[in-house]
């Protein structure tokens, strides 16, 4: 059994690029992927911005090289990002070792269900869309696309989903249940989630401004990101290369409200504290925080208080990268895990775009331009509905 676990492969598709190199380019050029809505069918397409992947479903099908009509946008992007991570890691899923796929999603097949649901009551043509509605569908598509996968499961804990998938993957390796695991999350944009967040009145009609005093809400995004996680034993055996080490993780619950975070960020504080304890690091040893930072009044204030509760007056450099990608829900934590590894590898802090004024109550100021600085440790936060709070700590390998 391995006591140490490493990230050995990265894969990502989102508004800022169709793969990791493209994403890195956008990040290092401070180029947001959020813009006018082109692919999502909604009556609000000219009123709101979103972080859409710049490819149609047809173009995605071409990239995946699979014309199976049962595939939906969620599956396409999940398959692409997972495959990129596996290729990047250099693992061979046919070598007889135990490989797992742990994915996460909130919207699952809803993006397709919503197109055909009413029609299904009249005609039989699209009844099979029901078979791909559930959260497990895209995970099994990934498993079959990669081939020879022994273990699959899927997590759905709203916007912290992928953090929990990463956490579960690390634990299963440490418990000796898997040799390596492809973990992450996926959420394509749908009318369902768009309208859900709109009725909650937490969408900004302009570019989101995380941690700004005048922030009005989030921009939704879509994406998928996966990382390959291996234990030290398996990695050493195949002489593979570690990109980063996962040294801390924790999940805690705010138990305050179904959708809102507690004003003082109690659950978030617990998650950060427990992840730090596990890592053996002191708060002062954290070099950078990739915040959840959605841009909603509630989240950013609550997260700021939690940050101050842990770090006091020595808050590390921090930023939210959601103004690049939009809030990609279940995929957010894995997208930000990939971004964090890119930060460690390239000694770069990617900026918190659109920020001008600090929140009066906390006075916290994020990094607003690209910072070139050696980074050894990164804390990444993700919080979701149901008070679900998760923190991960990555260390330079």
């Amino acid at each position: 059994m391995s006591r140490r676990v490493y990230i050995t492969g990265l894969g990502m598709i989102s508004a800022i690029g169709n793969n990791v190199p493209e994403s890195f380019l956008s990040l290092s050029q401070s180029k947001t992927g959020i813009g006018k809505i082109n692919h999502l069918t909604t009556r609000y397409k000219d009123e709101f911005l979103a972080g859409e992947i710049k490819l149609s479903n047809e173009a995605l099908a071409d990239l995946v090289k699979d014309n199976n009509p049962a595939l939906n946008r969620n599956s396409y992007i999940a398959m692409l990002a997972a495959k990129e991570a596996v290729i990047n890691s250099g693992i061979d899923t046919n070598d007889g070792l135990r490989t797992g796929v742990i994915s996460s999603t909130t919207v699952a097949g809803m993006g397709k269900t919503e197109l055909y649901y009413k029609e299904m009551f009249e005609k039989d043509d699209h009844l099979n869309v029901l078979d791909t509605h559930d959260c497990g569908d895209s995970t099994e598509r990934i498993a079959d696309y990669l081939g020879n996968v022994d273990y699959v499961t899927t997590i759905s804990t709203a916007c912290s989903s992928a953090a929990n998938a990463i956490m579960l993957g690390c634990r299963m390796i440490k418990h000796g249940q898997l040799d390596r695991v492809v973990v992450g999350g996926v959420d394509a944009l749908s009318k369902f989630t768009f309208n859900g967040f709109n009725t909650l009145m937490i969408l900004d009609r302009e570019w989101c401004k995380p941690f700004d005093e005048n922030r009005k809400g989030l921009n939704l995004g879509e994406g998928a990101a996966f990382v390959v996680i291996e234990g030290e034993n398996t990695l050493n055996l195949r002489k593979g290369k570690a990109l980063a080490e996962v040294v801390g993780y924790a999940n805690a619950n705010d138990a305050y409200h179904q959708t809102a975070s507690s004003p003082e960020g109690y659950g978030a504080t617990l998650a950060i504290q427990q992840a730090l304890t596990m890592s053996g690091l002191t708060p002062s040893q954290i070099d950078y925080i990739n915040m959840h930072g959605t841009g909603t009044p509630n989240n950013d204030l609550s997260e700021s208080f939690a940050t101050k509760a842990i770090f006091g007056n020595q808050v590390p450099k921090f930023s939210s990268t959601k103004a690049f990608t939009g809030h990609t829900l279940a995929a957010a934590a894995s997208i930000e895990a990939v971004i964090s590894v890119l930060s460690l590898q390239n000694s770069m802090i990617f900026p918190n775009l659109n920020f001008t004024t600090a929140i009066a109550e906390t006075g916290l100021v994020p990094e607003t331009t690209l910072v070139n600085t050696p980074l050894n440790t990164i804390l990444s936060n993700s919080f979701g509905f149901g008070g679900n709070c998760s923190s991960l700590i990555f260390k330079k390998a």
Partner: protein
């Protein structure tokens, strides 16, 4: 190996399982080709101000969780882990239809908020003021199995008391559409369904919760000794080999298993591998099945686990579940072999403690 001791159980199903005295004595037939869960009066389990807003899956989950917690006699847990294939489908459908019927206008957020898959787990956390670990698994026929796998790891990581549960609900529309997609067939009678020659299941719903403890206490009803999932096993021989290895890991052989609960679903295609497996099971163990009683759903294995605990408690196999003619002489070890759509297979081993 770490075991989980089951200290409390709560189950809402198409049968009268909410009554702790019920033991397969009276059986409610299917409604033709599907089952509905029998819902209790929720007032004794859930505060009225909360109850008013909750969807059915949430009510069923919170109530079953509450029953399990009461039986275990505890006030706090160290983790809450739920499993559900479709989540709060009623709320999802309500919000979806509101979007489609009103062209994305005049929407209210309640059903969207409650449509989130982890709503049941987080509602229980809210009610219990539980700030600890809270996960929700949503993987088809592995949704409930994943909760047990996770709990067993958490015990090794130091947690002591964990609430796990499987939750599934369907809606009238979902039944209608799946029937039109030819997914169902009528259940001929409430007798074991291992010999199906035709496709079609009986779609169902239900919820079962369990309070698991790391250590045996005077409340312990049975132990979960191990669980394993198999994704798309190629042949029944493959399943049998993996089963023998799984049992060996726990120091057992198939003839040590007093009752084997098998997840026959009445669909000939999905049941094929279990049909092939049945002679080997009957030769060494006593075979039984459960989906003619609870119906088929993503987390039917949670009902199977509830059944296994009851068998161990009562030390008898009700005739309505039995496939084999022979009766078990004692019930020390119960094995569940579940399958979902012939894709997701799992083994769960429970023992008397």
């Amino acid at each position: 190996m770490t075991k989980a001791y089951i200290n409390g159980i709560g189950c809402i199903s198409p049968q009268n399982s909410i009554d702790s005295e019920w033991f397969f004595d009276t059986i409610n037939p299917a409604k033709g080709d599907y089952f509905d869960a029998i819902e209790p009066s929720y007032k004794e389990f859930i505060a009225p101000n909360l109850l008013r807003r909750m969807g059915r899956a949430i009510k069923m989950g919170v109530a079953a969780g509450n029953i399990a917690i009461q039986q275990a006699g505890i006030e706090k847990v160290d983790a809450i882990i739920t499993g559900t294939g479709l989540g709060c489908f009623e709320d999802s459908e309500r919000f979806l239809l509101a979007i489609l019927n009103n062209d994305e206008q005049f929407l209210t957020p309640t059903s969207f908020i409650q449509s989130t898959h982890n709503t049941v787990g987080s509602q229980i956390a809210l009610i219990m003021k539980c700030h600890d670990y809270n996960f929700t698994y949503v993987h088809r026929g592995f949704s409930f199995e994943s909760t047990i796998q996770d709990a067993l790891m958490l015990f090794e990581e130091g947690k002591e008391t964990i609430l796990v549960g499987g939750i599934e609900e369907h809606t009238p529309n979902f039944v209608i559409l799946n029937r039109r997609a030819h997914k169902f067939q009528e259940l001929q009678s409430n007798t074991p369904i291992w010999k199906s020659t035709t496709p079609g299941i009986q779609m169902s719903e239900g919820t079962a919760f369990f309070v698991l403890n790391k250590n045996k206490t005077d409340k312990s009803l049975a132990s979960v000794d191990g669980i394993q999932t198999l994704y798309k096993p190629k042949t029944s021989a493959d399943i049998l080999n993996k089963l023998r290895s799984f049992l060996k890991l726990h120091g057992l052989i198939l003839s040590d298993i007093d009752v084997t609960l098998m997840g026959f679903s009445d669909d000939v295609n999905f049941d094929q591998k279990l049909q092939e497996l049945l002679p080997s099971i009957e030769k060494e163990s006593v075979a039984a099945c459960y989906k003619h009683v609870c119906g088929e759903y993503h987390t039917a294995s949670a009902f199977a686990m509830w059944t296994a605990v009851k068998l161990i408690e009562k030390q008898t196999l009700p005739k309505v579940l039995a496939i084999s003619d022979k009766a078990p002489s004692k019930i020390k070890h119960v094995l569940i072999i579940n399958q979902y759509l012939g894709i997701n297979y799992s083994f769960t081993l429970l023992s008397q403690c």
